[in-house]
């Protein structure tokens, strides 16, 4: 579904991604693990269109999407849950969720939007309870759920998740990972970036290790879990 082919990205003169290539087959969960500053977020931003000066090819359904602005990429079926949630803090929970459907928000799509909203609320019942609350006053875990819910409203076929477990209690992390699994089972392809390597490798089919902007290791997630190097560097020995 997604094929990244030698992508480079830099901030000013600092090169952050060096000829990164990877594949995300349809229907799978692929994870990228790596230390702070490895370039994981930059990679996701290159896909979603937020990172404007990346070069190389990103083929989504065989079409090169490098250079297409972020606000049009979401319409192709790629939704990103950005690092640090980035919800619309001054708007209500409900408005945030509605805005997730912005790119196809029309009267004629009203039923679809309602149905998707119902599914988001079913997945995260707490959001329904808080639907009139100002989003900035939600707890960190609730904000993460909102960010995921908002992305799901965008009709994603490919969901990009940037560190959904960051700063969240283990119990909620488990809930969120369960949702990721469910989503995948119902057909959504997922590209997941995580510091929490153990959780990421458990949910993924295939994994890549990113170090200083380069892919240094890749393989089946189950194999990487047993890889001595991965164990030492990313799973705490």
């Amino acid at each position: 579904m997604l094929k990244i082919d030698g992508i480079n990205a830099s901030y000013g003169s600092i090169r952050v991604l060096k000829k990164v290539s990877l594949k995300v087959p349809a229907g799978k969960v692929v994870s990228i693990i790596g230390a702070n500053g490895a370039g994981k977020s930059t990679l996701l931003k290159s896909i979603s269109g937020l990172m404007k000066n990346s070069t190389g090819r990103i083929l989504y359904k065989d079409r090169n999407i490098v250079g297409i602005p972020a606000n049009r990429i979401v319409g192709l079926g790629i939704s990103q849950v950005p690092e640090g949630r980035q919800i619309f803090a001054h708007l209500t929970v409900r408005d945030n969720i509605n805005l997730g459907a912005y790119h196809y928000f029309k009267r004629s799509n009203r039923l679809e939007i309602k149905e998707r909203m119902r599914r988001v609320y079913q997945m995260f019942p707490i959001l329904e309870k808080r639907s009139k609350q100002i989003a900035g006053t939600l707890s960190g875990g609730e904000q993460q759920m909102l960010a995921i819910g908002r992305a799901l409203m965008g009709r994603p076929e490919l969901l990009l998740l940037d560190e959904p477990s960051m700063g969240i209690a283990p119990l909620i992390v488990r809930e969120i990972f369960n949702v990721i699994k469910q989503l995948n089972q119902s057909g959504t392809t997922v590209l997941l970036v995580e510091q929490n390597a153990r959780a990421a490798l458990k949910v993924a089919h295939h994994s890549y290790v990113l170090e200083r902007g380069e892919i240094v290791l890749e393989g089946l997630a189950a194999e990487l879990l047993d890889n001595p190097k991965v164990k030492e560097h990313y799973l705490g020995g």
């Binding site: 979603s48 972020a70 912005y102």
Partner: protein
């Protein structure tokens, strides 16, 4: 008898104050629209008001267009100026920071003012009042019919805008841009288009203010700066970004000015409102209706 004249005198000040205040409120609302989408303070906001007044005079008096046509044509033209301002002065800035953008708005305001003085000269222009100049006497106070037009238009713009921002997805999308432009583009919002729309909207509202106030106070090329200062004061007083705050702030500023001029001295009328502004900000830095919580997240 003595008592009634004092009361009617005070009523007179109040009505005048609310009228002037309505204009400040419309300017403040214009500030807020752009601020809420971009966090920029648009110092050319007063020039939209001035242009509204002078273009209306041109359309209605010089060209002889009927009131409603002249009104619409003026709003369209001033809106166009707002759009051009965004396209030519704001969007081309390569690495926009809030500060460089604000400086750009100051440059634009100087440019607009210069152009206006070139076209219209330095004399003030008058515009016929919309429904004549026969004053109505109300509990001893003398009220120009035009006052009702000014206040009425404030109410109409306030209601229309609150529906737009609270009920429509485009309105929500505009607020989302201010909250988080990156996240806004991730859900498909074209942030540049929203900024353009904010300039267009606030230019249109500025034009409405200028058109309605010109029959009362005339209009000349350099009126914009003072209107911008008062409108900005009103926006700050009410809490930058809050529409109800802008309206409250504008009406308070106008009233203080009017009472100050009537009861103390008209020479210092511009100072009264600003002094009250400073005092209120000293006690409540986020403005009357601004929330402290939100003002902490904001850059200004």
């Amino acid at each position: 008898m003595e008592k009634i004249t004092l009361a009617s005198q005070l009523l007179q000040y109040l009505i005048t104050g609310l009228t002037v205040g309505s204009v400040y409120a419309m300017v403040a609302v214009g500030f807020n629209i752009i601020y809420n989408v971009t966090e920029i303070i648009n110092f050319a906001q007063g020039e939209f008001v001035m242009l509204g007044g002078l273009i209306m005079v041109f359309m209605n008096v010089a060209m002889g267009l009927p009131l409603i046509l002249a009104f619409l044509a003026t709003i369209i033209l001033v809106t166009l100026v707002g759009i051009l301002m965004d396209r030519l002065a704001i969007r081309p800035i390569r690495r926009p920071s809030v500060l460089t953008l604000i400086i750009a708005t100051i440059a634009v305001s100087i440019l607009i003012k210069g152009t206006a003085s070139f076209i219209w000269g330095k004399d003030p222009f008058d515009l016929p009042a919309f429904s004549g100049r026969n004053p109505i006497t109300f509990l001893g106070a003398v009220v120009q019919p035009q006052y009702f037009w000014v206040i009425g238009f404030l109410i109409v713009t306030a209601v229309a805008l609150s529906i737009f921002f609270d009920r429509t997805i485009i309105g929500k999308a505009m607020s989302a841009c201010a909250d988080n432009p990156n996240a806004a583009s991730l859900v498909g919002i074209n942030v540049k288009q929203m900024i353009l729309l904010s300039f267009a909207l606030s230019a249109a509202i500025g034009a409405v203010a200028g058109i309605t106030v010109t029959p009362i106070s005339l209009m000349e090329y350099d009126r914009g700066a003072m209107l911008a200062v008062k409108g900005f004061g009103a926006a700050i007083l009410g809490g930058l970004g809050s529409f109800p705050g802008a309206i409250l702030g504008g009406l308070i500023m106008g009233s203080i000015e009017s009472f100050g001029a009537g009861l103390i001295s008209s020479g210092y009328k511009d100072a009264f409102a600003l002094i009250v502004l400073l005092v209120i900000l000293f006690f409540k830095p986020s403005g009357l209706l601004g929330s402290i919580e939100i003002s902490r997240i904001k850059r200004f």
